[in-house]
Symmetry: D2
Subunit: 252 residues, 4 copies
Amino acid sequence: MSDAPGVDDVDGMTGTRSPRIRPPIFEMGLKGYLWGEGAVHLAKAADRLARELDVRIVFDPQHVDIPAVAAATGDLLVFAQHMDPVTPGRGVGYVLAEALRDAGAVGTLLNHAEHRLTLADIDRSIARARATGLATIVCCDSPDEAAAVAMLGPDIVLAEPPDLIATDRSAATELPWFVERTVELVGRIDPSIVVMCGAGVRTPGDAARMIALGVGGTGSTSAILTAEDPVATMTAMIEAVHRAWTERPGGA
Amino acid sequence: MSDAPGVDDVDGMTGTRSPRIRPPIFEMGLKGYLWGEGAVHLAKAADRLARELDVRIVFDPQHVDIPAVAAATGDLLVFAQHMDPVTPGRGVGYVLAEALRDAGAVGTLLNHAEHRLTLADIDRSIARARATGLATIVCCDSPDEAAAVAMLGPDIVLAEPPDLIATDRSAATELPWFVERTVELVGRIDPSIVVMCGAGVRTPGDAARMIALGVGGTGSTSAILTAEDPVATMTAMIEAVHRAWTERPGGA
Amino acid sequence: MSDAPGVDDVDGMTGTRSPRIRPPIFEMGLKGYLWGEGAVHLAKAADRLARELDVRIVFDPQHVDIPAVAAATGDLLVFAQHMDPVTPGRGVGYVLAEALRDAGAVGTLLNHAEHRLTLADIDRSIARARATGLATIVCCDSPDEAAAVAMLGPDIVLAEPPDLIATDRSAATELPWFVERTVELVGRIDPSIVVMCGAGVRTPGDAARMIALGVGGTGSTSAILTAEDPVATMTAMIEAVHRAWTERPGGA
Amino acid sequence: MSDAPGVDDVDGMTGTRSPRIRPPIFEMGLKGYLWGEGAVHLAKAADRLARELDVRIVFDPQHVDIPAVAAATGDLLVFAQHMDPVTPGRGVGYVLAEALRDAGAVGTLLNHAEHRLTLADIDRSIARARATGLATIVCCDSPDEAAAVAMLGPDIVLAEPPDLIATDRSAATELPWFVERTVELVGRIDPSIVVMCGAGVRTPGDAARMIALGVGGTGSTSAILTAEDPVATMTAMIEAVHRAWTERPGGA
């Protein structure tokens, strides 16, 4: 941190953070592929993996499924897919931080490529999450945007080249510079922010290559949820993350 | 319906409707005022009223509270505050009709003045609700917009002059023409659509006056949720709706 | 109009309209394909056609090109591609009706599939246009939405199946029911509203077939602006509209 | 710059900038208060000031007035109030960089508090401006957001506490820490980015105090455009900026 002069001030400016999520991290994004009973079933399998392996698993179901998923699991990090910067009071149809937290969520995704937010709303949503004890994974499209987001004090930055999302072309293979540049820029601003990268991560090999490029986590949605056996596919990918993490230079 | 020539065709065009919600209707909107335990507590009180009085009570909590509210009640019509027109698959952070339904919701609000939607999204969301068996209350700002919405085949149209929402000036007293015009225009297009009006409804008298103007329902949020005794305030308002309904010309 | 009850009232409700644009109409949409000198050059050619043929040509350049196009032409109907419902005063970067009018525009498109608006903003923008003497072409995606828009009192409704926009599959050939249904529904609500349909109109034959289906106008963008000779392509299409209009049953 | 390790890389990442606008800068924002002849009249007065005083004056009229304002002035920096990240081609109603430039604009505002953009659109719009030779003033709500924006390589960052915009409470007097913090954070990231602050700047004294706090520019809209004599009010404020700039510690 000695070569990152802004960090202390940045921390001072943005207040106390929620307890940090320790890498490696795997985000199991559900989007709108799975809900209800199916979501709870997959959550339980993910929860077993989180207990057995030294990997933090972020699991983000539809909002209505957060209570059931939280009740059925113990080690899973249950996140919302989105939260709004509203405070208690008015705001029909907007997702309130306090309601998420009391329903069992421990954090929220923000600004996914499929759900982009204004800069002002990202800033205010991070502040709301912080004030209610929720962690934040803020998504973005490029290394520059990852650096911009890092100035706003999120817990985790998740950068994904938008053109590769939901394709079979992994960012780890196609755009290694994108991944390495994101790690470098965010690390220089605040090394305590975990950097994740994704997009096109479809195989255990893709996940492992991503970790080898220096990120603290990765994730997958469509490859797992459209697989013939989602639990087996998810398990293989998370085991690959675990292995790649222990084998990385300087790894535990 | 003899003087409404478009109705049959409109119905034919838009397909089978979910079973209609019979007036009178009272919408107990929670917005972001109440969540978690507090929402369930109020829901139980509303549920008792729905059992005792001939009033359909629409209760719309935060999305994460839908399962608990649905599980704790039997006669309440549990609605979402918002739904997106997405289909199963991609769409991070968007609210999926199937997930709402499987969590216990029977309908959704759309296009509230605090959450405005594009015309295309209102149209597609109504279609999605219809396809999944959810009812729709589509909000709007004026009698013309109510007529426009009526062409899209919702179950209920709720018109509220936006400047009076969350004030202490009731639309029933300040803008009776607004209410009467909405009832007239929508009735001419499709008399099977229930017309509701709201905004500034803070007392049992406000609610009763609204019913007397010819609507099939009304609702309240801030007056109830910021009252010293929300259950008592809600009860008085719903009883007033019940009474005004039975006393209306031609009432049961 | 005898079988369309409601129409008189609808007119009464929404106030005096700007002088109506008489069909047939051809909309020459520029989008972001052409600007500056190129836009003025094409506008002059379109202006000559508007003088020679009994076709009203709506020409909608980028906002910054409205003054030059208006100054260089006499018979062209210069429209904005978009306008906002703002009134004079605040609103950085929003397009003000009065500024459009004083720059030479006579109308504006609203709610194109590439620029969707909320129902409330469509309603308020039509009112702003009316108050400043601008005509409105309100776009939409379906016959139902065309009927909804017709309740808001636009001058022209332009319905385009969104999946066919900028393709080589013409709505006139692929979805004749879409066109006929739009003509029927809008005509029943207010026969003084001109109905236009478009999407995938790439040849003179496509334009003629559209007119033959009963619409008062059609338009094209990409087929003309990506043609080797845009002026010749535009001329052939507008001549086809002219011919189809005079040859239609009951045509002049 | 020795204590700002990221700067070189940031510059390398984001490519060559347009020629920098040298401070002091005064932004004369028109919003929707003034258009047509009135806008040109004020522009000419501002142009004379820009010639006489060592102050760069950014003047941002409605889009349709850009050509006339550019044609009538020589030293004014004519900016758009907003630009979209679209490229030539589709995009009805969106503001194209190339069209702005060819109409005489030399830059654009982005992300004003009255017109907020997604992080992705700010990033892409800055890139589009850079590629077409337009300068950018990117607005934001807080020092943190100013730092975030600075990572995206704008020419100028303009921070305004949103609650003070269009009030008579100047940010320079009410929130000096806001101004000083913004100057410090952005300067640490890239000292070649000009920092401007505004909101509530209504008198020559407000403008001078702002400069004294270390910014490279400020601006005003409502105080000037609602004044009895806008030209006199504007002149007094710009003269105050000029004077405060020469008198600042280390000033020329």
